[in-house]
Symmetry: C2
Amino acid sequence: MTNKGLLIIFSGPSGTGKGTVLKSYFANHQEAKLSVSATTRAPRLGEQNGREYYFISKEKFAEMKSHNELLESAEYCGNCYGTPRAPIESWLEQGFDVFLEIEVQGGAQVRRLEPDSVGIFILPPSVKTLGERLRGRGTESEEVVQSRLKAAKHEIEQAVNYDYAVVNDTVEKATAEIAEIIHAEKHKTSRNPALIERVLNYD
Amino acid sequence: MTNKGLLIIFSGPSGTGKGTVLKSYFANHQEAKLSVSATTRAPRLGEQNGREYYFISKEKFAEMKSHNELLESAEYCGNCYGTPRAPIESWLEQGFDVFLEIEVQGGAQVRRLEPDSVGIFILPPSVKTLGERLRGRGTESEEVVQSRLKAAKHEIEQAVNYDYAVVNDTVEKATAEIAEIIHAEKHKTSRNPALIERVLNYD
Protein backbone atom coordinates (compact mmCIF):
# COMPACT_ATOMS: atom_id res chain seq x y z
CA MET A 1 0.00 0.00 0.00
CA THR A 2 1.46 3.34 -1.07
CA ASN A 3 0.56 6.25 1.16
CA LYS A 4 -0.47 9.43 -0.59
CA GLY A 5 2.34 11.97 -0.88
CA LEU A 6 2.46 15.33 0.86
CA LEU A 7 1.77 18.66 -0.79
CA ILE A 8 4.35 21.13 0.49
CA ILE A 9 3.78 24.85 0.13
CA PHE A 10 7.27 26.26 0.04
CA SER A 11 7.78 30.00 0.38
CA GLY A 12 10.32 32.54 1.45
CA PRO A 13 11.59 35.90 0.28
CA SER A 14 13.74 36.29 -2.82
CA GLY A 15 17.42 35.83 -1.99
CA THR A 16 16.81 33.31 0.81
CA GLY A 17 18.18 30.48 -1.29
CA LYS A 18 14.93 28.57 -1.80
CA GLY A 19 16.05 27.27 -5.18
CA THR A 20 19.41 26.04 -3.90
CA VAL A 21 17.79 24.31 -0.94
CA LEU A 22 15.24 22.61 -3.20
CA LYS A 23 17.92 21.50 -5.65
CA SER A 24 19.86 19.94 -2.78
CA TYR A 25 16.70 18.28 -1.44
CA PHE A 26 15.67 16.84 -4.82
CA ALA A 27 19.18 15.48 -5.40
CA ASN A 28 18.64 13.09 -2.48
CA HIS A 29 14.89 12.54 -2.56
CA GLN A 30 13.63 10.68 -5.61
CA GLU A 31 10.19 10.57 -4.02
CA ALA A 32 9.82 14.35 -4.35
CA LYS A 33 8.57 16.37 -7.33
CA LEU A 34 8.51 20.08 -8.06
CA SER A 35 5.21 21.46 -9.28
CA VAL A 36 5.38 23.21 -12.65
CA SER A 37 3.31 26.36 -13.18
CA ALA A 38 1.28 27.24 -16.24
CA THR A 39 1.79 30.63 -17.89
CA THR A 40 0.47 32.59 -20.81
CA ARG A 41 3.79 34.30 -21.46
CA ALA A 42 5.91 33.16 -24.39
CA PRO A 43 8.73 30.68 -23.73
CA ARG A 44 12.22 32.22 -23.54
CA LEU A 45 15.22 30.76 -25.27
CA GLY A 46 16.05 27.35 -23.80
CA GLU A 47 12.81 26.99 -21.87
CA GLN A 48 10.92 23.74 -22.39
CA ASN A 49 7.20 23.20 -22.14
CA GLY A 50 6.51 21.17 -18.99
CA ARG A 51 9.96 21.87 -17.49
CA GLU A 52 10.15 25.58 -16.63
CA TYR A 53 6.45 26.13 -17.29
CA TYR A 54 3.48 24.74 -19.12
CA PHE A 55 3.16 27.34 -21.87
CA ILE A 56 -0.52 27.78 -22.69
CA SER A 57 -2.75 30.28 -24.49
CA LYS A 58 -4.83 32.92 -22.72
CA GLU A 59 -7.95 31.08 -23.84
CA LYS A 60 -6.74 27.79 -22.37
CA PHE A 61 -5.74 29.55 -19.13
CA ALA A 62 -9.18 31.16 -18.80
CA GLU A 63 -10.81 27.79 -19.49
CA MET A 64 -8.70 26.00 -16.87
CA LYS A 65 -9.48 28.69 -14.34
CA SER A 66 -13.22 28.56 -14.97
CA HIS A 67 -13.16 24.75 -14.75
CA ASN A 68 -11.47 24.95 -11.34
CA GLU A 69 -8.37 23.25 -12.72
CA LEU A 70 -5.95 25.72 -11.10
CA LEU A 71 -5.05 25.64 -7.41
CA GLU A 72 -4.10 29.32 -7.55
CA SER A 73 -3.51 31.98 -10.15
CA ALA A 74 -2.17 35.51 -10.46
CA GLU A 75 -1.47 38.11 -13.13
CA TYR A 76 1.99 39.66 -13.37
CA CYS A 77 3.16 42.15 -16.03
CA GLY A 78 0.17 41.34 -18.21
CA ASN A 79 0.76 37.57 -18.16
CA CYS A 80 -1.19 34.96 -16.26
CA TYR A 81 0.46 32.38 -14.02
CA GLY A 82 -1.20 29.48 -12.24
CA THR A 83 -0.77 26.06 -10.65
CA PRO A 84 -2.48 23.22 -12.55
CA ARG A 85 -4.22 20.86 -10.16
CA ALA A 86 -4.18 17.66 -12.25
CA PRO A 87 -0.43 16.83 -12.33
CA ILE A 88 -0.16 17.53 -8.59
CA GLU A 89 -3.10 15.26 -7.76
CA SER A 90 -1.66 12.52 -9.95
CA TRP A 91 1.78 12.71 -8.28
CA LEU A 92 0.28 12.76 -4.78
CA GLU A 93 -1.82 9.68 -5.58
CA GLN A 94 1.33 7.88 -6.75
CA GLY A 95 2.95 8.66 -3.39
CA PHE A 96 5.25 11.48 -4.50
CA ASP A 97 5.74 14.49 -2.26
CA VAL A 98 5.04 17.60 -4.32
CA PHE A 99 6.73 20.92 -3.61
CA LEU A 100 5.01 24.10 -4.67
CA GLU A 101 7.51 26.97 -4.71
CA ILE A 102 5.23 29.93 -4.48
CA GLU A 103 4.93 33.46 -3.10
CA VAL A 104 2.82 34.01 -0.01
CA GLN A 105 -0.44 35.15 -1.64
CA GLY A 106 -0.50 32.10 -3.92
CA GLY A 107 0.46 29.92 -0.97
CA ALA A 108 -2.53 31.21 1.00
CA GLN A 109 -4.85 30.43 -1.96
CA VAL A 110 -3.57 26.85 -2.16
CA ARG A 111 -3.79 26.42 1.60
CA ARG A 112 -7.48 27.24 1.58
CA LEU A 113 -8.14 24.58 -1.08
CA GLU A 114 -5.75 21.98 0.34
CA PRO A 115 -5.89 22.09 4.14
CA ASP A 116 -3.85 18.84 4.38
CA SER A 117 -0.89 20.57 2.76
CA VAL A 118 2.22 21.41 4.79
CA GLY A 119 3.50 24.98 4.77
CA ILE A 120 7.24 25.50 5.08
CA PHE A 121 8.67 29.01 5.14
CA ILE A 122 12.38 29.56 4.48
CA LEU A 123 13.88 32.39 6.46
CA PRO A 124 17.21 34.13 5.96
CA PRO A 125 19.31 34.22 9.17
CA SER A 126 18.41 37.92 9.30
CA VAL A 127 17.23 40.70 7.00
CA LYS A 128 20.77 42.07 7.22
CA THR A 129 22.17 38.78 5.81
CA LEU A 130 19.54 38.89 3.11
CA GLY A 131 20.68 42.39 2.13
CA GLU A 132 24.27 41.19 1.97
CA ARG A 133 23.29 38.24 -0.22
CA LEU A 134 21.31 40.45 -2.59
CA ARG A 135 24.19 42.96 -2.82
CA GLY A 136 26.67 40.09 -3.22
CA ARG A 137 25.02 39.11 -6.48
CA GLY A 138 26.33 42.43 -7.80
CA THR A 139 23.53 42.62 -10.37
CA GLU A 140 21.17 44.99 -8.63
CA SER A 141 21.36 48.67 -7.72
CA GLU A 142 21.08 49.67 -4.07
CA GLU A 143 17.63 51.04 -4.85
CA VAL A 144 16.48 47.66 -6.13
CA VAL A 145 18.07 45.92 -3.12
CA GLN A 146 16.18 48.24 -0.74
CA SER A 147 12.93 47.60 -2.54
CA ARG A 148 13.51 43.85 -2.38
CA LEU A 149 14.29 44.01 1.33
CA LYS A 150 11.06 45.88 1.93
CA ALA A 151 9.14 43.21 0.00
CA ALA A 152 11.03 40.52 1.92
CA LYS A 153 9.99 42.01 5.25
CA HIS A 154 6.36 41.92 4.16
CA GLU A 155 6.74 38.28 3.14
CA ILE A 156 8.50 37.31 6.38
CA GLU A 157 5.61 38.74 8.38
CA GLN A 158 3.43 36.10 6.68
CA ALA A 159 5.63 33.25 7.93
CA VAL A 160 3.26 32.76 10.89
CA ASN A 161 0.70 31.41 8.40
CA TYR A 162 3.01 28.51 7.60
CA ASP A 163 3.31 25.37 9.72
CA TYR A 164 7.08 25.40 9.89
CA ALA A 165 9.89 27.92 9.64
CA VAL A 166 13.37 26.84 8.56
CA VAL A 167 16.31 29.24 8.75
CA ASN A 168 18.66 28.85 5.80
CA ASP A 169 21.97 29.16 7.69
CA THR A 170 23.57 26.50 5.51
CA VAL A 171 22.01 24.56 2.64
CA GLU A 172 22.89 21.21 4.25
CA LYS A 173 21.22 22.08 7.55
CA ALA A 174 18.12 23.55 5.92
CA THR A 175 17.78 20.52 3.62
CA ALA A 176 18.12 18.09 6.56
CA GLU A 177 15.51 20.01 8.52
CA ILE A 178 13.05 19.86 5.64
CA ALA A 179 13.58 16.10 5.41
CA GLU A 180 12.88 15.78 9.15
CA ILE A 181 9.72 17.85 8.87
CA ILE A 182 8.43 15.70 6.02
CA HIS A 183 9.25 12.44 7.82
CA ALA A 184 7.58 13.68 10.98
CA GLU A 185 4.46 14.78 9.08
CA LYS A 186 4.18 11.28 7.66
CA HIS A 187 3.95 9.91 11.20
CA LYS A 188 0.96 12.08 12.07
CA THR A 189 -1.90 9.85 13.17
CA SER A 190 -4.26 12.08 11.17
CA ARG A 191 -2.40 11.06 7.99
CA ASN A 192 -2.46 7.34 8.86
CA PRO A 193 -6.07 6.34 9.37
CA ALA A 194 -5.34 2.84 8.02
CA LEU A 195 -2.28 2.19 10.20
CA ILE A 196 -4.08 1.56 13.48
CA GLU A 197 -6.57 -0.74 11.75
CA ARG A 198 -3.68 -2.65 10.21
CA VAL A 199 -1.88 -3.09 13.54
CA LEU A 200 -5.10 -4.27 15.18
CA ASN A 201 -6.16 -6.66 12.43
CA TYR A 202 -3.03 -8.08 10.92
CA ASP A 203 -2.46 -11.72 11.96
CA MET B 1 18.15 32.63 24.27
CA THR B 2 17.07 29.11 25.25
CA ASN B 3 13.79 27.96 23.79
CA LYS B 4 11.41 26.20 26.15
CA GLY B 5 11.57 22.41 25.91
CA LEU B 6 8.81 20.17 24.63
CA LEU B 7 6.53 18.08 26.82
CA ILE B 8 6.11 14.70 25.15
CA ILE B 9 3.27 12.40 26.13
CA PHE B 10 4.61 8.97 25.36
CA SER B 11 2.23 6.02 25.36
CA GLY B 12 1.82 2.57 23.92
CA PRO B 13 0.65 -0.84 25.08
CA SER B 14 2.71 -2.99 27.42
CA GLY B 15 5.20 -5.12 25.46
CA THR B 16 5.71 -2.57 22.69
CA GLY B 17 9.21 -1.77 23.88
CA LYS B 18 8.56 1.80 25.10
CA GLY B 19 11.21 1.51 27.80
CA THR B 20 13.88 0.21 25.41
CA VAL B 21 13.13 2.93 22.89
CA LEU B 22 13.32 5.62 25.58
CA LYS B 23 16.58 4.23 26.95
CA SER B 24 18.05 4.34 23.45
CA TYR B 25 16.75 7.90 22.92
CA PHE B 26 18.09 9.21 26.24
CA ALA B 27 21.51 7.66 25.57
CA ASN B 28 21.93 10.09 22.66
CA HIS B 29 19.89 13.07 23.79
CA GLN B 30 21.27 14.87 26.83
CA GLU B 31 18.64 17.55 26.33
CA ALA B 32 15.86 15.09 27.24
CA LYS B 33 14.54 14.15 30.68
CA LEU B 34 12.13 11.46 31.85
CA SER B 35 9.38 12.62 34.17
CA VAL B 36 9.28 10.84 37.54
CA SER B 37 5.89 9.98 39.05
CA ALA B 38 4.87 10.38 42.67
CA THR B 39 3.33 7.42 44.49
CA THR B 40 1.98 6.58 47.92
CA ARG B 41 3.15 2.97 47.75
CA ALA B 42 6.21 1.94 49.77
CA PRO B 43 9.57 1.83 47.96
CA ARG B 44 10.71 -1.66 46.93
CA LEU B 45 14.23 -2.94 47.50
CA GLY B 46 16.68 -0.94 45.42
CA GLU B 47 14.25 1.83 44.51
CA GLN B 48 15.43 5.37 45.17
CA ASN B 49 13.29 8.37 45.97
CA GLY B 50 13.33 10.69 42.94
CA ARG B 51 14.65 8.00 40.57
CA GLU B 52 11.93 5.34 40.16
CA TYR B 53 9.32 7.45 41.98
CA TYR B 54 8.90 10.27 44.41
CA PHE B 55 7.70 8.30 47.45
CA ILE B 56 5.24 10.43 49.39
CA SER B 57 2.58 9.98 52.06
CA LYS B 58 -1.15 9.77 51.35
CA GLU B 59 -1.58 13.13 53.10
CA LYS B 60 1.07 14.79 50.95
CA PHE B 61 -0.48 13.26 47.80
CA ALA B 62 -3.93 14.55 48.71
CA GLU B 63 -2.46 17.99 49.44
CA MET B 64 -0.61 18.12 46.08
CA LYS B 65 -3.75 17.06 44.26
CA SER B 66 -5.91 19.67 45.96
CA HIS B 67 -3.28 22.38 45.28
CA ASN B 68 -3.32 21.48 41.56
CA GLU B 69 0.29 20.34 41.73
CA LEU B 70 -0.33 17.12 39.78
CA LEU B 71 -0.79 17.02 36.01
CA GLU B 72 -2.70 13.74 36.32
CA SER B 73 -3.38 11.11 38.94
CA ALA B 74 -4.86 7.65 39.29
CA GLU B 75 -5.42 4.98 41.92
CA TYR B 76 -4.18 1.45 41.34
CA CYS B 77 -4.35 -1.47 43.81
CA GLY B 78 -5.08 0.92 46.67
CA ASN B 79 -2.10 3.18 45.95
CA CYS B 80 -2.12 6.62 44.38
CA TYR B 81 0.09 7.60 41.45
CA GLY B 82 0.49 11.03 39.91
CA THR B 83 2.68 13.35 37.85
CA PRO B 84 4.10 16.32 39.79
CA ARG B 85 3.90 19.48 37.76
CA ALA B 86 6.77 21.48 39.32
CA PRO B 87 9.83 19.43 38.18
CA ILE B 88 8.39 19.23 34.64
CA GLU B 89 7.80 22.99 34.46
CA SER B 90 11.31 23.66 35.74
CA TRP B 91 12.93 21.35 33.16
CA LEU B 92 10.85 22.79 30.32
CA GLU B 93 11.86 26.33 31.31
CA GLN B 94 15.52 25.27 31.25
CA GLY B 95 15.03 24.01 27.68
CA PHE B 96 14.91 20.27 28.39
CA ASP B 97 12.46 18.09 26.50
CA VAL B 98 10.46 16.11 29.05
CA PHE B 99 9.04 12.66 28.29
CA LEU B 100 6.03 11.48 30.20
CA GLU B 101 5.70 7.71 29.85
CA ILE B 102 2.07 7.22 30.68
CA GLU B 103 -0.99 5.09 29.93
CA VAL B 104 -3.70 6.55 27.71
CA GLN B 105 -6.12 7.80 30.39
CA GLY B 106 -3.35 9.72 32.17
CA GLY B 107 -2.10 10.96 28.81
CA ALA B 108 -5.54 12.37 28.02
CA GLN B 109 -5.63 14.18 31.40
CA VAL B 110 -2.25 15.80 30.75
CA ARG B 111 -3.21 16.72 27.21
CA ARG B 112 -6.19 18.70 28.43
CA LEU B 113 -3.99 20.71 30.82
CA GLU B 114 -1.04 21.07 28.44
CA PRO B 115 -2.35 21.60 24.90
CA ASP B 116 1.16 22.49 23.67
CA SER B 117 2.39 19.00 24.52
CA VAL B 118 3.22 16.52 21.76
CA GLY B 119 1.59 13.09 21.85
CA ILE B 120 3.60 10.16 20.49
CA PHE B 121 2.08 6.69 20.46
CA ILE B 122 4.33 3.65 20.04
CA LEU B 123 2.72 0.84 18.08
CA PRO B 124 3.84 -2.77 17.78
CA PRO B 125 4.20 -3.89 14.13
CA SER B 126 1.00 -5.88 14.76
CA VAL B 127 -1.03 -7.31 17.62
CA LYS B 128 0.26 -10.71 16.54
CA THR B 129 3.89 -9.56 17.02
CA LEU B 130 2.91 -8.13 20.39
CA GLY B 131 1.51 -11.54 21.42
CA GLU B 132 4.74 -13.21 20.32
CA ARG B 133 6.80 -10.72 22.33
CA LEU B 134 4.68 -11.19 25.45
CA ARG B 135 4.86 -15.00 25.11
CA GLY B 136 8.60 -14.76 24.40
CA ARG B 137 9.17 -13.36 27.88
CA GLY B 138 8.10 -16.78 29.15
CA THR B 139 6.92 -15.30 32.43
CA GLU B 140 3.19 -15.12 31.79
CA SER B 141 0.47 -17.73 31.32
CA GLU B 142 -1.49 -17.78 28.07
CA GLU B 143 -4.46 -16.43 29.99
CA VAL B 144 -2.47 -13.40 31.15
CA VAL B 145 -1.11 -12.88 27.60
CA GLN B 146 -4.67 -12.91 26.20
CA SER B 147 -5.81 -10.44 28.83
CA ARG B 148 -2.85 -8.15 28.03
CA LEU B 149 -3.56 -8.35 24.30
CA LYS B 150 -7.16 -7.35 24.93
CA ALA B 151 -5.96 -4.36 26.99
CA ALA B 152 -3.42 -3.53 24.27
CA LYS B 153 -6.14 -3.44 21.62
CA HIS B 154 -8.13 -0.98 23.72
CA GLU B 155 -5.04 1.21 24.12
CA ILE B 156 -4.18 1.08 20.41
CA GLU B 157 -7.67 2.32 19.57
CA GLN B 158 -6.73 5.50 21.49
CA ALA B 159 -3.69 6.15 19.29
CA VAL B 160 -5.81 8.51 17.14
CA ASN B 161 -5.80 10.94 20.08
CA TYR B 162 -2.02 11.29 19.77
CA ASP B 163 -0.29 13.57 17.27
CA TYR B 164 2.12 10.94 15.98
CA ALA B 165 2.28 7.18 15.70
CA VAL B 166 5.63 5.40 15.53
CA VAL B 167 5.82 1.67 14.78
CA ASN B 168 8.51 -0.05 16.82
CA ASP B 169 9.89 -2.34 14.09
CA THR B 170 13.44 -1.82 15.33
CA VAL B 171 14.64 0.27 18.26
CA GLU B 172 17.06 2.22 16.04
CA LYS B 173 14.37 3.17 13.54
CA ALA B 174 11.81 4.09 16.19
CA THR B 175 14.39 6.19 18.07
CA ALA B 176 15.40 8.03 14.90
CA GLU B 177 11.77 8.73 14.06
CA ILE B 178 11.14 10.18 17.51
CA ALA B 179 14.17 12.46 17.09
CA GLU B 180 12.81 13.64 13.73
CA ILE B 181 9.38 14.34 15.20
CA ILE B 182 10.90 16.40 18.01
CA HIS B 183 13.16 18.37 15.66
CA ALA B 184 10.26 19.04 13.34
CA GLU B 185 8.01 20.20 16.19
CA LYS B 186 10.70 22.68 17.19
CA HIS B 187 10.43 24.26 13.74
CA LYS B 188 6.70 24.89 14.09
CA THR B 189 6.05 28.59 13.63
CA SER B 190 3.55 28.40 16.51
CA ARG B 191 6.43 27.44 18.83
CA ASN B 192 8.72 30.21 17.57
CA PRO B 193 6.92 33.51 18.04
CA ALA B 194 10.22 35.30 18.65
CA LEU B 195 12.03 33.89 15.60
CA ILE B 196 10.31 36.01 12.96
CA GLU B 197 10.80 39.14 15.06
CA ARG B 198 14.46 38.29 15.40
CA VAL B 199 14.94 37.77 11.66
CA LEU B 200 13.20 41.06 10.94
CA ASN B 201 14.99 43.13 13.55
CA TYR B 202 18.47 41.76 13.88
CA ASP B 203 21.07 44.02 12.27
